[in-house]
């Protein structure tokens, strides 16, 4: 597995988190790193529905590589989005399509956040990403 430096850092810190409180604090810290979206990017076309909070996902391809931006009004979800982006940033469509994101969140100890019943948005964001990768 080829992890970016940031992704390796995330993995290291989450592997050391022993309690739900520590994981929650880390999530909130990671959420702070998420680059804010411009107002013009917070448009309906970038909205991901199926979430209890407002979520936007902006996807661009430069020279075959995906660059994502994401935002949410919920703090813990911002953390989850940040952890997602560090894993997928710069991948091409084939790599994105083959990437096992469930395994990634499982490694982080956050697999339960992926459940479709959680409606926290992460599941819907992953579906949108998979769709983007397969359409490209």
């Amino acid at each position: 597995m080829n992890l970016s430096q940031e992704a390796s850092q995330a993995l290291e810190s989450f592997e050391q988190a022993r309690s739900w409180e520590q994981r929650a604090r880390l999530l909130m810290q990671w959420g702070e790193h998420l680059a804010p979206l411009d107002a013009v990017e917070k448009i309906e076309a970038n909205r991901v529905h199926g979430c209890e909070s407002l979520v936007w996902l902006v996807a661009e391809q430069h020279a075959g590589q995906w660059q994502f931006k994401a935002a949410s009004d919920a703090r813990l979800l911002r953390g989850l989005l940040a952890l997602l982006l560090v894993r997928v940033q710069g991948l091409d469509s084939a790599a994105l399509a083959h990437l096992d994101l469930r395994a990634w969140f499982t490694q982080l100890g956050l697999e339960r956040q992926l459940s479709p019943s959680r409606s926290n948005g992460l599941h819907a964001v992953l579906q949108r990403m998979a769709q983007l990768a397969s359409d490209a």
């Binding site: 739900w20 409180e21 994981r23 929650a24 604090r25 909130m28 979430c51 209890e52 909070s53 407002l54 009004d73 919920a74 703090r75 813990l76 979800l77 959680r118 409606s119 926290n120 948005g121």
Partner: protein, 401 residues
């Protein structure tokens, strides 16, 4: 002081959930089931399943007998005059859809349907879509500050063009009893049909459909400690005669040839296909169980827990309770804290509550909210459940603030 629930042990899932460190406070969504129901399901399947109202053989006769006994029990539970006024459906949603389709032929363009601003999607969308199909006007009855239908305005809005009034008995978001009596009487005086969504109301206290005096009363089994997949319509006799079949198929038909058919009257004419036999039998067993409880003790227990819930919420800074809940539940938001974050951290701590729009998007939007957290109680909850919820809430707020 610890307030135990004397009925907790009757619900085996509560102990199982506790072993998984889960505190179940999402009872307005669905409830845990009493052992009496599990026994009835197991008995039915272990002693010979059979289809009802069809076969002459012994298993068929026994299944039909048990199925129809449940109809009698539901009739007794609601104080219906006749068990033949009880229709089994596949849930409250399918019950309300049956009404919206089965009454459709009565509406003409320009007629009005009145619903309240707090309806669950199940009692909004079937009427909204009927209005669109038939070019009707859907009139929304506004709420007062406490979360009840504003009586004065409602009496103005329900007029001679109103052909049907559909309202909830108890709000699934606000926990408020609705002023049914004056609204139903007024609507009937205008010649309108009346539908009451009792999905939440039926769970708290006993309700007498003859005293309530609506044309149709609807509820779902699974919120009343019964199995899923079963809904109930009680219809007034004259109202049932106006209802046309919606779904067509086995057993609802009297005579059929290739090009035409005639249909049975209520209830069987509205129970096309194989009904949820085990579920209906299970609901009967649940009603037997509930009927054996001291109703006053249950009401007092629930009222006391509800007071503790409201007090605990009021004691905490920045919490805003939606409306003025009277029973069973409370929905709230917290200043400066996203309800999705609270929900996330409560889930981490094994607290099962509901976050979001509670299938009432227009209501939440009307309140200017994206969503809210809802805590809802059942007779098996005890004060420790609430204490665990409040401890978890305090922990969550400490992390988030």
């Amino acid at each position: 002081m610890f307030q135990p629930s004397p009925w907790r042990a009757d619900f085996p899932a509560i102990a199982a959930l506790q072993r998984q460190h889960q505190t179940y406070l999402d009872n307005a969504a669905t409830t845990q089931k009493p052992q009496a129901l599990l026994d009835a399901l197991s008995h039915y399947y272990a002693h010979g399943a059979a289809n009802v109202h069809r076969a002459q053989h012994l298993p068929g006769a026994l299944a039909t007998q048990a199925f129809e006994a449940s109809r009698d029990k539901v009739a007794t539970w609601l104080n219906a005059a006749d068990a033949q006024q009880i229709i089994f459906t596949h849930g409250a949603t399918s019950a309300l859809n049956l009404l919206a389709y089965g009454l459709e032929y009565l509406f003409e363009a320009g007629d009005e349907i009145a619903v309240s601003a707090l309806e669950h999607h199940a009692n909004l969308l079937p009427w909204q879509q009927l209005a669109r199909r038939r070019n009707l006007r859907l009139v929304i009855l506004p709420l007062d500050g406490q979360g009840r239908i504003d009586q004065e305005q409602a009496l103005q809005l329900i007029g001679p063009r109103t052909r049907l009034l559909a309202v909830s008995q108890l709000s699934n978001v606000l926990g408020t009893w609705q002023p049914l009596a004056p609204l139903l009487a007024h609507a009937q005086a205008q010649g309108a049909l009346t539908v009451v969504d009792g999905a939440q109301g039926v769970v708290h206290g006993r309700h007498d459909v003859q005293a309530l005096d609506c044309d149709f009363y609807v509820f779902s089994s699974h919120k009343l400690y019964g199995p899923e997949g079963v809904g109930v319509i009680h219809g007034r006799r004259q109202a049932l005669q106006r209802l046309r079949p919606w779904q067509f198929g086995g057993e609802m038909v009297q005579i059929a040839d290739y090009h035409s058919a005639s249909f049975r009257p209520a209830p069987l004419g509205f129970e096309a296909g194989t009904p949820p036999i085990a579920g209906v039998i299970g609901l009967g067993a649940t009603l037997d169980y509930l009927g054996g409880l001291d109703a006053n003790a249950v009401a007092a227990h629930e009222a006391s827990l509800h007071q503790q819930l409201l007090r605990g919420l009021a004691d905490r800074e920045g919490i805003r309770v939606l409306g003025t809940p009277q029973v069973a539940l409370a929905s709230f938001v917290i200043d400066g804290v996203h309800n999705a974050d609270i929900a996330h951290l409560l889930t981490e701590q094994g607290i099962a509550v509901r976050a979001g729009h509670h299938c009432a998007m227009p209501l939440l939007e009307g309140l200017g909210l994206e969503g809210a957290i809802r805590v809802s109680l059942a007779l098996y909850n005890d004060s420790d459940d609430l204490q665990r919820f409040f401890d978890a809430l305090d922990q969550a707020l400490e992390l988030l603030r």
